[in-house]
């Protein structure tokens, strides 16, 4: 790894080798302060760099939801608010914030924010901006499948909460985070450009003039080159640039994963009445989810195989609406009976503890009346970076892990990462640690990795379990639905885990 980095450095910054050789032979030599990674105003050795290289403490590559959440979080804590943060993202929305008009129909890209993420947002003071725009809390969720053998209904009251989650458009979340960060007096610089290369300082430092001096902890900063020709240095580089992360590629992180042979079709639809709950029906090709967005609008996330996805994208709007209604209600199998096993029978001994929603009947989702936005198609895959942290670089959000959207957890895992990293950075600064040190970043990894992997495993399990149409397996799944519906402790645990309150699915 060191050799790879030195080769890269040798290729890119040839002229710096000269000063290195000079001091290596000296005894107790002082490293020249105008190091390749230490920016100075006069930097004549740099090839083709006429601009000043700015020095920052943290460089967040990617100014999306998770990157901005990290920046806000750092800005809101006393131990980290003095940090000089750079955000690298070529998205123009970061500079000129497009105003979101109330009359606009909802954008199809939405996220379900779990209660845990909501409380994190409230901590940093960003949630109040979200509530100024369209948002939809929901307190009921119904999950069933096409066989009609079973269903589960979750109610927020089962776990003594007011809501199970809140569905918010991504652009609203983004704009709220931007407002939050602009409010706070925080040193931040936004670089409207893309990352091209990354240099880790590996100048050798040796006390004895041996030919291959042992590599001591090499310089603390990392130099980032951007596509518009400017450069900056940072002690810590955070990769929050999404599933096709460039920083992950540059820093040499390996990943594992596979792509699901499914694409997701998303769009906004309208009803004649207000949709108060979240609905998910597992179909043979993949689940269809109907999420409330507010003002009689709902969001559809429909997973299916790629060919059907392209068909559905191109078919007429009326046909599409008919298909959606068919998928949600009419087609495939019968409605699940409300109490197949009755509230008595073998589950009657749970009766004293039975939750509110177990007594509720199966409800039919609201009918879709028209399509309210364009249809978008995204391929789905599972990806997990084998490591989140290496020297000076750490990955958060989709750059570190992507999941199937069937439980609405993706961005919530990312928010969890962002806040955990901010907390770890604060703890490091409290004891004077250099924030780019691997041991500190490994602490973050040790905290988030098990939780993320557990969630991904569960979601992947669900995805696989529901993609097979096989008699006995269908009965098993129906039993699972009924079990989750009527066994109250299990239901409470599921709600608690999906809300983000429990980090690991340990049913205690």
């Amino acid at each position: 790894m060191n050799r790879l980095i030195t080769r890269k450095i040798a290729e890119n910054v040839n002229c710096l080798k000269a000063p290195q050789r000079n001091f290596c032979t000296g005894v107790a030599a002082k490293i020249p302060t105008s190091n390749s990674a230490q920016p100075t105003t006069d930097h004549p050795e740099e090839q083709g760099v006429t601009n000043k290289i700015h020095q920052h403490d943290v460089a967040i590559v990617g100014g999306g939801l998770v990157g901005l959440a990290l920046a806000c979080s750092l800005a809101s804590m006393p131990l980290t608010k003095h940090l000089n943060v750079a955000i690298i993202d070529s998205n123009p929305a970061l500079f000129s914030r497009p105003s979101i008009k109330k009359e606009d129909p909802p954008d199809p890209r939405v996220s379900t924010v779990t209660p845990a993420s909501i409380s994190l947002f409230k901590d940093i003071g960003a949630w109040k901006y979200v509530e100024q725009h369209r948002h939809a809390y929901f307190d009921m969720m119904q999950v069933w499948d096409y066989t009609g053998l079973g269903y589960t209904k979750y109610n927020a009251k089962d776990a003594n909460k007011d809501y199970l989650g809140c569905v918010v458009e991504n652009r609203v979340l983004h704009s709220s985070l931007l407002s939050c960060i602009q409010d706070i007096d925080f040193q931040k610089t936004i670089y409207p450009s893309k990352l091209t290369t990354l240099h880790r300082n590996s100048s050798f430092v040796g006390v004895e003039s041996k030919s291959s001096a042992s590599p001591l902890d090499q310089g603390h900063s990392v130099k980032l080159d951007l596509s518009d020709g400017s450069s900056l240095c940072a002690k810590l580089v955070v990769g929050a640039d999404g599933s096709k992360s460039r920083i992950r590629e540059l820093a040499g992180f390996t990943t594992s994963g596979w792509s699901y042979s499914q694409n997701a079709v998303i769009c906004t639809v309208e009803h004649s009445i207000e949709n108060r709950g979240a609905w998910q029906r597992f179909l043979p090709a993949g689940p269809i989810a109907l999420l409330p967005v507010g003002d009689n609008f709902s969001n559809i996330v429909w997973t299916m195989n790629p060919k059907e996805a392209t068909d559905r994208k191109t078919m007429s709007e009326d046909d599409f609406v008919k298909d959606v209604n068919y998928a949600l209600d009419y087609g495939y199998g019968p409605h699940p009976k409300s109490s197949t096993l009755g509230n008595g029978g073998i589950l009657s001994w749970f009766k004293p503890d039975v939750t509110l929603s177990a007594a509720e009947c199966f409800e039919v989702p609201p009918k879709v009346t028209k399509l309210a936005s364009q249809r978008m198609v995204f391929p789905l895959s599972l990806m997990h970076a084998n490591n989140y942290a290496s020297k000076n670089v750490v990955l958060i959000g989709d750059a570190a892990h992507t999941v199937h959207p069937l439980a609405g957890q993706g961005v919530n895992l990312g928010f969890g990462d962002a806040f955990a990293l901010a907390k770890v950075i604060a703890e490091g600064i409290a004891v004077g640690t250099n924030i780019g040190e691997v041991s500190l970043l490994r602490k973050f990894e040790a905290e988030r990795k098990p939780a993320n992997i557990a969630m991904m495993a569960i979601l992947d399990g669900f995805q696989k379990a529901y993609s097979v149409d096989f008699g006995p397996l269908n009965i098993l799944r129906a039993a699972a639905f009924n079990g989750a519906n009527y066994i109250s402790p299990l239901k409470r645990s599921i709600i608690s885990y999906a809300s983000g309150e429990q980090k690991l699915p340990l049913f205690t």
Binding site: G206, A430, V431, G432, V438, S439
Partner: protein, 311 residues
């Protein structure tokens, strides 16, 4: 600190006052017999427990026996691995944040600084006696203090200087290859004197504490950490760390040169430093993390303040 530990400390103070004469004679005997090597002036050496550390035990400038040269050479060989956090000093790096947490909390309280500030020690002068490669000095400098790092091994100082120059925040640390006694001769004084994992390698701990005290300004702070002379420490820091887990080279520590908390309080008291807080460090083998705890039976750290003669 729990009330249990506070009571323990109060008892120590009371006991020392009552039995000082007896204790003094017994500790004198103990102290004189515990240092089988040189009688030369104590040399603060950095070490950590139970970690792999410089095997350079009490070396003095004047007593250059063959044994000492070997130890010097042994240490010089691994001194370049000081900053390799996966190398032989790995457990020390793991323990460092825990020690710093204790130091930060006690010194913020003592000097009345804001515990939520990222640089609470602005304007304060600290000295790190036995600094080694500077793994304690650098975080202290990042917390705003003006740090002087002192070590008797020239190579350590070189490594420390080179590493500190990599970060502008730490490049102002003043590293000197000298001893606490020499600093006293130069009449230097500091707001806080910190000597972690040094006193168990020193020939005469009483004299060493007197030097540390002389370096502290009145009402200043002194922080010393070491290993307890208990059966548990023998099992952990010597048998387990040196022979079973190979964290430390064999012979790094002599159990007889460990100090019990009572003895440390006593010799500090005789050096006009009254110990205000004490805590232990515990290691969780499952998570590989150190934490501050009340168990002072193996590693412990003591925070004391120098009595002001004007009061």
């Amino acid at each position: 600190m729990t009330s249990k530990l506070l009571n323990h400390l109060r008892a120590l103070h009371a006991a020392t006052n009552n039995q000082c004469r007896f204790a003094r004679s017994s500790t004198n005997l103990f102290l004189s017999s515990s240092r089988p090597f040189s009688d030369a002036p104590s040399l603060p050496q950095v070490s950590s427990t139970p970690q792999p550390q410089n095997p350079q035990s009490s070396i003095s400038f004047s007593a250059l026996s063959s044994l000492n040269q070997e130890e010097l050479a042994k240490f010089s060989a691994i001194s370049e691995t000081w900053w390799d956090s996966e190398g032989p000093f790995k457990p020390l790096h793991a323990m460092n944040p825990t020690r710093l947490a204790f130091i930060r909390s006690t010194l913020c309280r003592h000097f009345g600084r804001d515990p939520y500030s990222p640089t609470p020690f602005e304007g304060l002068k600290f000295v790190d006696v036995g600094c080694g490669g500077g793994i304690l000095s650098e975080p202290l400098a990042r917390m705003g203090a003006t740090v002087t790092g002192v070590d008797a091994v020239e190579k350590n100082i070189k490594i420390a200087r080179l590493h500190a120059d990599l970060d502008p925040l730490t490049s102002k640390i003043d590293y000197c290859c000298t001893t606490a006694e020499k600093l006293v001769e130069e009449q230097r004084s500091f707001d806080a004197v910190i000597a972690l994992e040094v006193i168990e390698h020193v020939a005469n701990p009483g004299e060493f504490c007197k030097s540390l005290s002389a370096l502290t300004v009145p009402d200043g702070a002194t922080i010393i950490s070491t290993i307890n002379r208990s059966m548990r420490a023998y099992a952990t820091a010597i048998v387990a760390a040196e022979y079973l887990l190979h964290w430390l080279p064999k012979g790094t520590h002599q159990w007889s040169s460990f100090l019990t908390p009572e003895e440390l309080v006593l010799i500090l008291q005789r050096a006009s430093i009254s110990v205000k807080e004490m805590a232990g460090f515990g290691y969780n083998h499952l998570t590989g993390r150190w934490s501050v705890c009340d168990d002072i039976s193996v590693n412990f750290i003591a925070f004391g303040t120098k009595t002001n003669p004007n009061q």
